[in-house]
Symmetry: C2
Subunit: 80 residues, 2 copies
Amino acid sequence: MIKARIVVTLKTGVLDPQGKAIQGALGHLGFAGVGAVRQGKVFDIEVDASDEATARAQLTEMCDKLLANTVIENYTVEIA
Amino acid sequence: MIKARIVVTLKTGVLDPQGKAIQGALGHLGFAGVGAVRQGKVFDIEVDASDEATARAQLTEMCDKLLANTVIENYTVEIA
């Protein structure tokens, strides 16, 4: 089993109301000097692949098909 | 401005129905050999701090107070 971490983040320029809400909430909690906050998703996945390259190809396909909306999101695949 | 990434993941042993659903969906899409899937959250935050140690302390406090539920979640703070 190869362990991987996929991080999905919004592309630059895409509005992130959830991030804005968190930024506001941090301000209300007394944290001064908080700049931009952007929220994303992380997936820790175990893949049964023979080698790292195969796993990476499979994980990239998973992102394109299910895990990320490539119109508005970027993703990175890190093999642990 | 110091840029940081906070990753919040469920603690081991905490059930993750969302991860299970993704695991099932990947199977239905034809991906064989997918093991455990766990979903978490990622926050990209800019903090106006004088140095890295101050930023890290502030970000840790943010996690404890707002960003993570420390009863069921772990978090990591990475300064970019």
